[in-house]
């Protein structure tokens, strides 16, 4: 295999007269901990490694998407825009990337254009220089405003083409969608992504050249997940077949539910003949730091997955899998995971095989959990499922099973109209309500309500590149000593005496 890949890269070198440079894009601060740590990496964990990440040679560093907004605010009591700003103060060379999810914000429900515009504005104002747009139904209409805003503000625009193992999602489909994005938005770059790790080598060999043929010199990035054993090989094959960039993360926050390891990709890409600017050894140092955070907080590190063809039936995204496991555990029904996964596969087909990317994995998982818990399928219908069936999110990829559609419409909330309403602007009302508040806070209050945002805790800034805090540990240790002990510690610049 090594020789075959080398031969292909070398053939390109002979044909073009130049050795292609493959760029790596970092997902450690965004997708990787979303997939492996249920998005629980804190800003304090990120700041100490920020400058080192900046120096590794990544083309871009992903920082926040809406899942990071949710986790920061709802679970970590942290301000995601503060995170972005603090990172941008430390990462000065590598462009920071933020993601836009369709025309949605916190909920699955589409938001009016003025709020989408404000969201993109605040991302850029806080340091994002590369905005990636993800639209699971590939309805570019949903992205018109946010792309225009990003372009107006001078950010690089990257649009996602999301892989789907379903009829109709072939090389022709993705090529057509790429062409449409160029014609409508003059988009800067493309990211062909596989959230569920179900893309095969054969498909990448077919789809990547087809997209590349349409987009020409515009860069094509490929992202895959390693829920199956083939994720990393798929990424390498994508590079061989024309991809310019690969999304990855620092091992040990790679593999398993997450994407390929940056260190592995760098050394393998070089070995088959590509140019790669990446400091492998410095990445290993960050890897040690991440392993320390994992150990200190009881987080798992990425473990390579076993090849399992059953995975191609479920197609469940890495981050969604991690969150589902966590939620079932919290509900005390962790043992139901296999049954829920089977139900997910069945529901997906019944609902017309939507792309298993946000928000649909969570939507289908919610329906699956309800089907399993209630004992009767579609007896309880989440609001998002009814909205999806009614076309609130855009045109559906394939028709919904008629019987299922009947049950969803019958048992779903009657408050959800069969026809999606026209979305009225929200920002004017927000500005009246929050007069005097700066836009970051206004946006966050619009998304999460006053109580959560008032309760956010500012980040404690400490850039020490270590999970060990010797001074803290020393003081904590001394505090445990009996009171009558006399302790005197003296060292350069530090003296401590207790009586």
């Amino acid at each position: 295999m090594l020789n075959q890949l080398r031969e292909k890269v070398n053939a390109e070198f002979i044909r073009t007269g130049k050795r292609r440079r493959i760029q790596l894009v970092d997902a450690t601060l965004r997708d990787a901990h979303q997939c492996l740590w249920a998005t629980r990496m804190r800003t304090e964990h990120m700041l100490p490694m920020a400058e080192r990440l900046d120096a590794l040679g990544f083309h871009a560093i992903e920082t926040v998407a809406l899942v990071q907004f949710d986790a920061s605010v709802l679970f970590l009591n942290q301000n995601p825009l503060e995170r972005l700003r603090l990172l941008s103060e430390r990462i000065r060379h590598t462009p920071l990337r933020a993601a836009v999810r369709s025309n949605m914000l916190r909920s699955f429900y589409p938001e009016p254009d003025d709020l989408s515009e404000l969201y993109v504005e605040r991302l850029v104002a806080n340091g994002a220089r590369d905005i990636v747009f993800l639209e699971s139904l590939h309805c570019w209409d949903n992205l018109t405003t946010s792309i225009a805003t990003a372009k107006r503000l001078g950010a690089t625009t990257t649009i996602g083409l999301i892989y789907n193992l379903a009829p109709g999602y072939d090389a022709h489909f993705y090529a057509a969608k790429a062409r449409e994005a160029i014609q409508r938005f003059d988009i800067d770059a493309f990211a062909f992504g596989d959230a569920g790790g179900s893309m095969t080598v054969e498909q990448v060999r077919c789809i990547v050249p087809a997209i590349k043929a349409v987009i020409g010199d515009r860069p094509l990035e490929v992202l895959t997940h390693c829920l199956n054993a083939t994720g990393s090989l798929v990424a390498l094959e994508a590079a061989v077949h024309g991809a310019d960039r690969l999304l990855c993360s620092i091992d040990p926050l790679a593999n398993g539910n997450a994407g390929p390891s940056a260190q592995m990709l760098a050394r393998n890409l070089r070995e088959i003949g590509f140019e790669v600017d990446f400091d492998d050894r410095a990445a290993d140092e960050i890897g040690d730091y991440l392993a320390g955070i994992a150990e200190e907080n009881g987080f798992p590190v990425g473990i390579a997955a076993e090849y399992d063809p059953a995975h191609f039936v479920t197609q469940y995204a890495g981050g969604a899998m991690s969150n589902l496991q966590s939620q079932l555990q919290l509900a005390g029904i962790a043992d139901k995971l296999p049954v829920v996964l089977e139900e997910i596969a069945r529901i997906r087909v019944e609902l017309g095989s939507p792309v298993m990317a946000t928000p649909f994995p969570a939507m289908i998982a919610a329906q699956a959990v309800m089907n399993v818990l209630s004992g009767e399928r579609y007896k309880v219908v989440p609001d998002e499922v009814k909205k999806y069936v009614c076309g609130y999110f855009g045109a559906l990829p394939l028709p919904v099973d008629p019987d299922v559609k009947d049950r969803v419409l019958a048992n779903g909330s009657r408050e959800i109209a069969l026809q999606p309403p026209v979305l009225a602007p929200r920002v004017p009302e927000l500005r009246r309500r929050y007069a005097g508040l700066w836009d970051d806070e206004l946006l966050l209050r619009a998304m999460y309500g006053d109580e959560k945002i008032t309760g956010l805790v500012p980040t404690v800034i400490d850039d020490t590149f270590s999970v060990r805090r010797p001074l803290n540990e020393l003081i904590a240790g001394l505090a445990r000593l009996p009171e009558q002990r006399h302790v005197h510690i003296a060292m350069a610049g530090f003296e401590l005496r207790t009586h």
Binding site: M1, L2, N3, Q4, L5, C226, A229, T230, G231, S232, L233, L236, D251, A254, N255, P260, S261, Q263, M264, R267, N268, R270, E271, I272, D280, R281, D284, I303, A304, A305, E306, Y307, D308, P309, A310, V313
Partner: protein
């Protein structure tokens, strides 16, 4: 097309690759009770690595075979025999020594042997196959898989044809470095079938790149006759694919596999995993994909040891540097096969070169014997090194056959085979383990008290 059957290698290659061969004979017995009733095509119980592990623990490897046979419920037991020994007491196992060893294996309960000649010396294999057949053994001739330009489909086809001519009843493609992939498999298996002319074809593959299960399933689809697999706790990584995964996936993909009894396999897994838990053996984990195995081509546990050595040195970033050094050493030596006894020596030599210059400041013993021509004439570029170490008077060591026992000891690489021991092993519940630990320690204490949810143990010496 006949159904593919499965052979379990948990007790040999599986525990060697994942646990470093740490399972004693007594630890295997409970698992064998279940495996023996699982309707497997065969169970592998002995290999050169297992023999070395037994000897290092002063266990008699033949006792292991006998004890496992008692619990095998008639399932055929398999042994692998490498015609090139790894321990250094002998170089090439042939002639009467090999005949005696095969006789001993048959007598103790082995019914199938996999004959491996890393150099694929067909004359040696002709003789070895005939001896094995004469001793009543079913014979599987191994065809080592190498991933390079020289080893084309035509080469494999011709080699398979020649191996079939030896009289072996089955041919086994052995991919001990886990290099096969689904692009390579269809053409290769077709070429092998052409050469074999009806002789059954088996596959032994590993999971160094994580692709082993995919390769195994593709092989089933293509009609491989037999496939090696292991229980999940000793599968993946440097080991073979996991047996339950193959059975489950074959059913899902509607592939033609004669699956073993799932309940018995589950029992065996539970038992073997409990041993690992009690003994603190490493957990089996799949390895992440990497192209480096295609460069170094190190087999099984030797690749695992090399990865561990690089990790311990903090030099995983030099993985390809190490792999290229393996290739360079191999080429300089005149291409010894990347199998025991040479593979481990090449890996160690490469690590030495990576650690410090000058290259070949020291030389691994197996490579020294190779350079001295003990395995036949070679074409090496290391002529100065060859001159430095000098030739040996008689390249093939003479084996004095006094008794079968003495010969068996020599073949196993020890002065004398250890006596048979009493085999006892008990899986304890956590409560039993706690109680036993406390009882062992409490003479040293006046009072020992343990309390926990639903648990209260109080030990106190009676006064007077």
């Amino acid at each position: 097309m006949s159904m593919t059957t499965l052979v379990d290698v948990s007790l040999s290659d599986g525990q060697t690759a994942v646990w470093g061969g740490a399972a004693s004979t007594a630890m295997l017995l409970g698992t064998m009770n279940s495996l023996g009733h699982a309707r497997l095509a065969a169970i592998e119980v002995l290999s050169p690595a297992v023999i070395a592990q037994c000897v290092s623990r002063e266990e008699n490897p033949l006792q292991r075979v006998a004890a496992l046979r008692e619990r095998a419920n008639g399932t055929p037991l398999r042994a692998t025999v490498n015609l090139l020994a790894t321990h250094g007491y002998i170089d090439v196992l042939s002639g009467e020594a090999l005949n005696t060893w095969l006789r001993l294996l048959a007598r103790i309960g082995i019914s199938e042997v996999v004959l491996i000649d890393p150099q694929l010396d067909f004359q040696r294999l002709d003789s070895a196959v005939q001896m094995a057949l004469a001793n009543g053994l079913s014979v599987i001739a191994a065809l080592p898989y190498v991933d390079d330009h020289e080893h084309s489909d035509a080469h494999y086809s011709a080699s398979a044809a020649r191996l079939a001519q030896t009289g072996a009843q089955r041919i086994m493609l052995r991919d001990e470095a886990g290099l096969l992939h689904v692009d390579r498999l269809p053409g290769l298996l077709s070429a092998l079938r052409d050469g074999l002319d009806g002789t059954p074809l088996d596959l032994h593959t590993r999971c160094h790149t994580g692709l082993g299960p995919q390769v195994a399933l593709e092989a089933i689809r293509l009609g491989i006759d037999r496939l090696d697999a292991a229980l999940p706790c000793v599968a993946n990584g440097a080991s073979t694919p996991a047996l339950p995964l193959l059975a489950r996936s074959a059913a899902l993909l509607e592939l033609s596999l004669q699956a073993p009894d799932p309940d018995r396999i589950k029992e065996a897994e539970t038992q073997f995993a409990a041993v690992a838990d009690q003994q603190g053996f490493p957990e089996s984990q799949p390895w992440a994909f990497d192209l480096a195995p295609y460069e170094h081509q190190l087999p099984g546990e030797i690749a695992a040891d090399a990865m561990q050595a690089l990790r311990a040195r903090g030099r995983l970033a030099d993985l390809f540097g190490f792999a290229r050094e393996c290739t360079r050493i191999r080429q300089e030596l005149g291409n010894p096969p990347m199998l025991p006894p040479f593979a481990q020596a090449i890996a160690r030599q490469a690590l030495e070169h990576l650690d410090a210059e000058p290259r070949y400041a020291t030389l691994q013993p197996a490579l020294r014997r190779w350079l001295q021509g003990c395995y036949g004439p070679i074409d090496t570029s290391l002529t100065r090194l060859q001159q430095r170490i000098g030739a040996v008077a008689t390249p093939c060591r003479v084996i004095n056959l006094s008794t079968d026992d003495a010969l068996a000891a020599l073949i196993c690489g020890c002065p004398a085979l250890p006596p048979f021991q009493k085999l006892e092993y008990e899986i304890r519940t956590p409560e039993q383990a706690l109680t036993q630990g406390l009882l062992q320690r409490w003479p040293g204490y006046t009072v020992l008290s343990v309390t926990g949810p639903g648990l209260s143990i109080h030990l106190e010496h009676s006064k007077g």
